[in-house]
């Protein structure tokens, strides 16, 4: 059984991170910068996919890490730093989703910092030897339909589905991040998938 060995490995892997956290708590800016570099990619990826806007994702990134810097002294090592930072990010994302409850229908694109649109679906690579324009269009339309269906979910349902389906987190972790129980996260996922299936019933 590799459970205890894996746990020891994870603990060992976390030991440098714990040192960084302690140094950051003691006031080391370099240590905090190192922590930012460890998690910035994941934070931006989550915020970008949820908001669909580079501008909004950057705002969430900024606010999340400023909060982390301000309150890192309160971190008690009762959970992983990953869970702690994600808790901050998901709360900010939920606030953002609530503010933007009525979102634009077409979300096939994201808006970059200069205001230009970036077609998400264009970045999806086609592994076939030749491209099929008709298929590309289908995929774009499909993407738009998916985003429209996602926007119909409540912010909490959207968040749980995002963290489970797109980010691949465990329901227990999702519960910790959203400051709720695994059971509640599970029920939220059921509702989200049921709604999405209803929304996308006509699609093949």
């Amino acid at each position: 059984m590799d459970g205890p060995d894996r746990a020891a490995e994870r603990l060992q892997a976390r030991a440098p991170e714990m040192e960084l956290i302690r140094e950051a708590q003691a006031g080391s800016r370099a240590a905090f910068d190192a922590l930012v570099r460890q998690y910035e990619q994941q934070v931006l990826r989550l915020a970008l996919h949820l908001t669909g806007s580079e501008h909004d994702a950057e705002d969430i990134y900024q606010e999340a890490f400023l909060k982390a810097f301000r309150y890192i002294g309160n971190f008690r090592f009762e959970c992983s730093f990953y869970t702690w930072i994600y808790r901050i990010v998901t709360n900010l994302c939920l606030d953002q989703l609530r503010r933007r409850k009525t979102r634009r229908e077409d979300q096939a694109v994201v808006i970059d910092h200069s205001g230009d649109e970036i077609d998400i679906l264009a970045s999806v690579s086609d592994n076939r030897a030749f491209s099929n324009p008709a298929k590309e269009l289908d995929r774009k339309v499909l993407g738009e339909r998916i985003q429209a269906a996602l926007s119909k979910l409540t912010p909490r349902e959207r968040m749980v589905f995002e963290l489970k389906h797109y980010q691949g987190l465990r329901l227990r972790t999702i519960g910790e991040m959203l400051n709720t129980t695994e059971e509640t996260a599970k029920n939220t996922l059921f509702r989200a998938t049921k709604k999405l299936r209803t929304q996308l019933a006509g699609l093949r």
């Binding site: 708590q25 006031g27 800016r29 905090f32 910068d33 930012v36 570099r37 910035e40 990619q41 931006l44 990826r45 970008l48 996919h49 580079e54 994702a57 950057e58 990134y61 900024q62 890490f65 400023l66 810097f69 002294g73 309160n74 008690r76 090592f77 979300q107 994201v110 970059d112 910092h113 998400i120 679906l121 970045s123 999806v124 995929r139 499909l142 993407g143 339909r145 998916i146 985003q147 996602l150 489970k164 389906h165 797109y166 980010q167 465990r170 329901l171 599970k186 996922l189 059921f190 998938t193 999405l196 299936r197 996308l200 699609l203 093949r204």
Partner: protein
């Protein structure tokens, strides 16, 4: 499994959250329920559809730009003042202590327990010491006559003097001061009290208990030589009015019949003179192992001929016949 539960488990299974044993159960249900099987197909289709809105890795330039903006914001923050840093340090240390609540609680319990026990022991010791001095102090000067002296507390009256031409009488008495002590059977103080109790206890029950405890110690071989325990048992065997107490004393002396002549004589005396046939019969059995003792043979012969109890006479004869080595 009902279909509503199956629908929930289909979702969990699709996302790898269903325990293995429930996966098997679900598969069996899906094999027989077309509706739930269709439900699973729908969910798998949803998962496929959802990939049409993929998660995109942030552009490296975007990441760098965001980091620079963050660093500028962090640089713009005012530095923490010394009292803020100090306060944070205190909180962090407190949180470290909080991180070991069990250890802290145990430490508290152990410390409180040790302190309480120590205080109790000290109070007991002081009380015992004070009780040892009180009777002497009381005898030194006369006190005014109390309303009543409980009879149970009076050990004895040592003198009575009437003052001339008056109704005043001086009575000097010794008072019993109840005390309590707790300790191991190996404790010399406990043993001393047990020996006193075997001879002087006012109730038979107390004598019974004390002799029983002393006898058990001797049978177990726990140091019955120099402290007078054997003497106490022999006294109990010879003088106690209770057959039960005498029987216990006899049993306690059994290990020493062979090695101690005084004990052997006491047992022989019990065989000759004790009124209880059970005690005389026990005495015979305790004397069996003794070898080459003419005194034992003589007593057994006397008992075999003249004991008033026929069973005792029979047993004596049997012992004499089995032990021709007695001289």
């Amino acid at each position: 499994m009902n279909c509503e539960l199956a629908h929930e488990r289909i979702v969990l299974a699709a996302y790898g959250e269903l325990p293995d044993e429930q996966v098997h159960e679900l598969d069996r249900h899906l094999a027989t329920c077309s509706e739930c099987s269709h439900e699973r197909q729908q969910l798998l289709a949803l998962k496929t559809l959802a990939t049409a809105y993929p998660v995109v890795e942030p552009d490296p330039n975007f990441v760098t730009r965001s980091r620079i903006r963050l660093e500028e914001a962090l640089d713009a923050l005012p530095p923490k003042r010394w009292y803020e840093r100090f306060g944070q340090r205190i909180l962090n240390n407190f949180s470290n202590l909080q991180a070991a609540p069990v250890a802290a609680l145990l430490l508290l319990i152990v410390g409180a327990g040790a302190g309480t026990l120590g205080g109790y022991e000290y109070a007991q010791a002081r009380s015992a010491h004070a009780a040892g001095r009180v009777p002497t102090a009381q005898a030194a000067k006369p006190d005014p006559a109390p309303d009543a002296v409980p009879q149970a507390e009076v050990a004895n009256i040592s003198s009575i003097v009437r003052q001339p031409n008056s109704e005043i009488v001086d009575v000097t008495y010794n008072q019993v001061v109840p005390q309590h002590i707790e300790g191991s059977l190996d404790d010399p103080a406990i043993r001393q009290l047990l020996m006193l109790a075997s001879a002087n206890a006012s109730s038979q029950g107390v004598r019974d208990d004390s002799v029983g405890l002393l006898a058990a110690e001797c049978r177990a071989g726990h140091a019955c030589q120099g402290e007078g325990i054997r003497d106490a048992l022999m006294v109990a065997l010879r003088y106690d009015k209770s057959e039960a107490v005498r029987l216990k004393a006899l049993e306690g002396l059994q290990p020493y019949v062979a090695e101690d002549m005084r004990v052997r004589d006491a047992v022989l005396e019990a065989l000759l003179n004790d009124s209880d046939p059970r005690i005389r019969a026990s005495a015979i059995s305790e004397l069996e192992p003794v070898e080459a003792d003419t005194g034992v043979r003589r007593v057994l012969t006397t008992v075999a001929n003249s004991d008033r109890n026929p069973h005792i006479r029979t047993v004596s004869r049997q012992v004499l016949s089995r032990a021709p080595e007695f001289q």
